[in-house]
Symmetry: C2
Subunit: 202 residues, 2 copies
């Protein structure tokens, strides 16, 4: 099947996804590639698969924060680590992105809520991040939360999670080119290479 | 403390380490950088930290093999996946590298045994990989195994593992520049950047 986009599967709540959410629109414009933004619940899938990357692993967690900090600096992104983790309102934060993508403010919301999380230490889906990020985009927080908790948004989010699971996605971010999966912000170049050439070019 | 090398901490048994072991001498010569090869027991540390990346995780495992296959092709390395995993004789394979580094054939042995594992499906530390890889380098397998099981080699290997643990290393490969750690073959460029500039340059 011909496909004109790289599918960007992501979950607010994944720390490394900060890098992708923040830089992908720039990559799209400089590389002339379209990304299809697909929020889903990576937590649901990770629970099913007993995939617990950081909880109870202090040495690996400390590395993750340092690695993220160094890579954010490379991309000139503000960051202050460690940030609150894991998130309490993971699903609401993602459903707000689902709603926002349908209404045209989803990418900007994802970027704003991620920046408040990883630069300012405010959890996505919780106050003050929630209202501040929405108001920055001219959206009414009460209306958005009501809509994000509505059946239609919940169903879209669950359907996206089912689709991700069916594709074999188990982590965020994942870049999908047809059925080829590239997991991690650090695989974006591989995804671009596959999209253009059908193989990796070093 | 001034340091004239990037410390390459690795364990035979890690699948992605195939990429590093196979390409790092080429990187050393093209980039004009020295790597200090440090075999250690990543399995001992992962057990202590309850860090189980693939066992019982079929979806993530399938991705790992595909990702490794694509990246090996990018580096023009032969590969046939999935290969036997996890390894039965993980520690012996690593102690043979420890011995070989002391005697001058360790890098070539690591490359040869990894190639037989990931291109030919033969486990390192077991026959026929063990004898074939050693004979290829002009070494007598019986002598090497006896030496690799001797107290002095066991002590060197355990001391290296203790040193890795103290540095905060939890996975293989890890590139250490002073106390900055870069985990994964895909962080080699970051390690090179840090070694030269003290920061990541994109």
């Amino acid at each position: 099947m011909a496909d004109d986009a790289i599918h960007f599967w992501f979950s607010t709540g994944s720390t490394y996804t900060y890098l992708s959410v923040s830089r992908i629109e720039h990559v799209a414009s400089t590389e002339g590639v379209r990304f299809d933004w697909r929020p889903f619940s990576v937590r649901a899938i990770m629970r099913e698969q007993n995939n617990i990357p950081f909880a109870g692993k202090p040495v690996k967690s400390a590395y993750m924060w340092r690695d993220l900090e160094r890579r954010a600096a490379m991309y000139h992104l503000p960051i202050k680590v460690p940030a609150p983790y894991p998130l309490k309102e993971f699903d609401l934060a993602n459903r707000l992105v689902v709603l926002g993508l349908a209404e045209g403010w989803g990418k900007a919301y994802a970027m704003a809520s991620y920046r408040r999380w990883l630069a300012d230490g405010q959890e996505p889906g919780c106050e003050p991040n929630l209202s501040a990020s929405l108001r920055e985009l001219g959206q009414d927080p009460a209306r958005c939360v009501e809509r994000a908790n509505g059946d239609d948004v919940v169903e879209l989010y669950e359907a996206a999670t089912d689709e991700a699971r069916e594709l074999g996605i188990f982590g965020s971010p994942t870049f999908a080119v047809g059925r080829e999966l590239f997991w991690g912000d650090d695989r974006l170049d591989d995804a671009l290479s596959w999209f253009r050439h059908g193989r990796l070019v070093s």
